[in-house]
Structures are given as C-alpha cells and as structure tokens.
Amino acid sequence: MHSIRKILLATAFACTAPAFAATASAEELKAEVLHWWTSGGESAAVKVFADGFTDAGGEWIDTAIAGGQNARTAGINRIVGGNPPTAMQFNTGKQFDELVANGFLRSVEDVAAANNWRDALPPAIVKATNRDGQFYAVPVNIHGQNWLWYNTDVFSKAGLQPPKTFQDMIAAGPKLRESGFIPLAHGGQNWQDHLLFDAIVVAEAGQEIFAKVYGEVDTDAAKSPEFLKAVETFAALRGMTDEGSPGRNWNDATALVITGKAAMQLMGDWAKGEFIAAGLTPDKEYGCTVMPGGYVMGGDVFVFPKIDDAAQKTAQEKLAGLMLSPETQIAFNLKKGSVPVRLDIDVSAMDACAQTGVQTLKDPNNQVASINYIASPDLVGATRDVITQFWSTPSMTPEEFVEKFVSAMDSAS
C-alpha cells in the first residue's frame, strides 16, 4: 500500500516537478546528490548509495556531472548562488576549506558522534574531514595512490623478479628493454607525473619529509638530502618510458601493461578496474604491490550545504549515516575499486589487491595523507608545473629542480 502510494506520489512529482520543485520537499524525503561518478563502474558504485537511500524511504535525485573539475565548479556555483544540492562530492582534503570558512556547509558532527566515526576512521582521514574539531564531510573511500601494477608474464619472460622498490625498478630497466618491453608504462600528463613523484618521495625521503614539504610548506625539508635523493630516483625513471608517453591517458598506459607491451605502471588503485575489465586475475596475470613508505591515501567525501528546510536537513543526516554504514561501505567500495574508509569491517569479500591494501592500512604507520589532504590546490598546482617540467626536460638537473620547487612553494604559501 505504502509503496504504491509512493510510486503514485513520485509520478505526480515527476509530472509537476518544474512547478512544485520549490515546495515539494516538505512532503517527501528528497536528496539531490551532485557527483562526478559517470563511468560504468563508478555509476554502479553510486547506485549503492542511491538504493540504500531509496530503501530508507527517501527519493534520490542523481545529478551526475562528468569530470571532477566541472562538477565541483557547478556545485560551488550553486552553493554560493543559494541553490545548493542536498549533498555534493569533493576529493578528501582541502578543496572545500573556503566553503567551510565562509559558512556554506553544515557540520555533521551529531551523526559522527552518534556513530563513533572517530574510532572507526584512520586519523589522517578524520583530520582531513574535520574543521575546528567538527566533521564537515563524510569520507566514503580510500584510493591508494602508490600501487605498482605489473604484468607477471613480462617479468618471467625477462627472467626477473617483480620489483618491490623504486631502486628495483631502475635496476630492472635495462634487462626489460633488452627483452623488447617498455620497462615503465607512463602517461606524461602533469597529474600522473605528480603521482609518481609523490610515491617516490614517500618511499625514499619518507613520510615525515613528505608531510613537511606539502603540509607545512617547509622549504628546509625540500632542500634536505633525502628529498634530493628522491628527485634523483625520479630523474632516473625518466629513461624507462617510451616515445609515445607524453600526453598519454593513464588507462592507455595501463593497456600497455595488460597487453604485455610494457612491464609495469605506477598508478592509483582505480587502474584495477582496467585489469578486471580485461578479464585478468590478481597474482596470476598481473600483480599489485604497494610501494614502500606507506599507503598514500586519496579518496572522496560528501559535504552537506547549509539548507534551512527541515526535510532537507533530515535527508542530509540520513545520507551521512548511510554512506558510512559498514554494509554500504563494503558494497560501494567493491564496485568502486577503492577500499572502505572504515578499518573495522570484514573485507574478505574483496579481491586480493584490496585486501593487501586494507592489511597495509591497518598499521597506523602506513597511513600516509596524500597531497590533496594536506596541501592547498594552489600549492598542488604550483609544484605540479615544476614536477612535470622536470620530468619532460632531461637536461634539467635535480639541483635545478629543487631550486624551482622551493620557489614554487614560496609563491603558493
């Protein structure tokens, strides 16, 4: 009975939506969620949230905008313009700082306290979603950013062990090249260069220096010998790519590994989707290794704009609770390819790579906050220009790089 009424109501609303859009919210629990998950796997993942919310008696209005940047711009414009969605996606970190500072977002501290989020989440994520000791964002996943993906067949053909460190990678380069493979599949776009660079800094200069450079904008840390050593490793990897690398998309690079043209690629765990889509199984046709130094965590959050309407507030609280509930977390992250943001749940249903990831993350010493968690978008961009320039300019020395890097840090602070 109730469900029939709901369908009728929903139909009625759909027919009269333009006219009633403003007044309808009091009647029914509606949530308009703005996000940029539009690819096949992504929209399957977001459907987990949508179904969960519908089952809880709400109506999910999906506003998917392709491209993270486009979606954020559209969402911010709507929030500032006074017509906010019920919830909106951001990357975990500092992207929504100014929205909080200007009072555009509401705190979800009540939901967080009621569900003990502080105990269930890694401290770095609590820090990245809290402002002034209150939760202003709901983290939904952790994307590992320093995974090495390799083709096991290629390594056995070349008679080599898959690498575990960046020095292993460099050492394997000449042999792989001789055997007719591209040692490192890489897409020469600035964010990919940056991802690789950060993984090396974490592995070779260590978490502390990484956090100081990006989090505290400490130029002394960037001038340290450890940092320079990481830069030298980064420089040594330049020669391991192929001619077609500049400008290549990350998934085209992954395809080189899948088809056995290239040996390995350093990429976030979203690359796993490509291997799965190609029908490969982990530890068999391909392997995945977390590079040393810790698990570099990226990920996504949802924020909730301040809205006066009481029904909208209820919808926001429902959504927040739902997104972090253990069942939703598992179901969502299975589809998304990331790992759950809660470390207190059973992940035996997930694949081998994801289980490795969760296992690594259980040690607090391995929880490394990625650049987006700790650095302003301005600093990320300024250092990114220097990193990509260095990667593409073999004549530039590591010392010159450090000098430019430091001045980029100064300009963006």
Partner: protein, 306 residues
Amino acid sequence: MASVSMAAEAAVPRTRRRWNAAASLALLPAAVIVLVVYLGCMVWTVRLSFSSSKLLPVLDWVGVRQYSRLFANERFLISVENIVLFGVLFIAGCLVLGFLLAVFIDQKVRSEAAFRTIFLYPYAMSFVVTGLAWQWFLNPTLGLQKIVRDLGFESFTFDWLVNQDMVVYTLVIAGVWHGSGLVMCILLAGLRGVDEDLWKAARIDGIPTWRVYLSIVLPLLGPMIVTAVVLLATSVVKLYDLVVAMTHGGPGIASEVPAKFVMDHFFERNNIGLATAAATMMLISVAAVLAPWVYARYIRPQGRRA
C-alpha cells in the same frame, strides 16, 4: 551596397539627426548587455586581480602581488612566448595557404564545389576534434612515424608532438589545417568580385598572371584580408581547446598558452586572484594590439574631417 548607404547618408544631413525614441529603445537591451555584461565583467576581473581571492571572490586589496607572482611564473612566461609564436605563424600560414587555395579554385577548375567543400570541411570541426585527430596522427607510436617506419623506412623520425622544442609547431600545423579553409572562402568571395575588365586590361598589357594576383588583385582584397585576420586573431587569443585536446600543455609545460593558464588557475587551482591577473594581462595585450588600428581606422579620419 556601398553607394546606397552613401546616398542615404547624404540625404540625412548632420543637423537633422535627432534623438529617435524608438531606435534608442530598441538599442537599449544591447547597450545594457555591453555595459553590464562585457564592460562590467572586465572591470570586475581587473578588480579581482588586485585581491587575494582563492576559491571565492573577496574584495580585499593586495596591490600588485598577483602580478609579481605572475611574472615570476615560468609557465606564464612560456605561455606568452608560445601564443606570440603561434599567433604569428598561424595567421600567416592561414593567409598564405588560404589565398593559394582560393586562387587555385578561381582557375575555374572542374568540380569546384567539391574542392570548396573539402577545403572548408576542417573548419566545420571543433578544435577539440581537430586536436584529437592530429594528436593521433602525430603520435610517434601510433601515427605518421609508425606508418612510415612500417613501410620500411626504419630511421624515419617525426616526433614533434613529444619534442619540447617543436611541439608548438604541431599546434600551428593543426591550426592552419583547421583555419585556412575559412580564409579561402573569404578570399574566394573577394576574387569573384574582382572586375573582369581588370583581367582583360592586364592581359592586353601582357602582364603575367602571378603578377596580376600579387600587384593588382591582392591589394583589392584588403578588406577581406582584414576580416580574415580579425577572425583568426580571435581564435589565437582564446586558444585553449586545441591545446587541451592535443598536448595537455605538454610535454612538461612546453605548449602551455595563456587561456589555459587562466582556466587552470581559476578552477582547478582555486586561485581566482592569479587567474584574473593573467586574464587582465591578456586584455591589455589585446588592447595594445587593437589600439593603433582603432586609432588609424576611426579616430584619425574623424579628426581630419573635423
């Protein structure tokens, strides 16, 4: 056309040009749009370039701090170099190629319409499609270089797209491919307007055809060429999509352009202050190029008349 409007002007002496309510009312929306949207946004942009705005616009005052950061920024300086190089080569290339194509079609070739369509066709595509197509074609591991090598010329190398020193020229190639059809159309219309008698006279005098084109026809095409240059110049200033689709500004930052600098900082990097400073510099450069022309075309003649 020209004679008609001149006659009309002569019929309405200056003294009788009175305030016409209906005409003013009709023009009002356009005037409001120009004032509020165009000029208003310009002023707003310039104002923000003196603020410390990050994600959201704020109206504090930080002096020229954004500008000093801008001119210390290597990427911006490379962008400026690139746009100048691209602008000169792109406009020159389109004009030369477009003119040659127009002359070719003007030789009363058979199936002229087919050629016209083929030459103009690239212009019907967006810069994004153009960029992607050329990216594939010029990619050393997928396109031209691979094809020629597969044919047996193992040492053939054409890697401009991934070469930091040459990548700007690949943008020029794609741009000229895209834009010269438009120039052809404009100039062909001009060529068709050239009086037959001129050609007859030149033939009687025994002047070679190339000489007629160069010394007689080309000067007659002046206004058409100005039109073409203005159209091409606007696509130089706003050059963004071609770069994004073709090179992403790379390798490294070797093919960055100012419009991409503005877009990246405005949105991805949450730095409205720096982005508007760069936009203001673009506005100033355009104004600096246009000012002498506007002066020569509109202000000086009026002064002389008075």
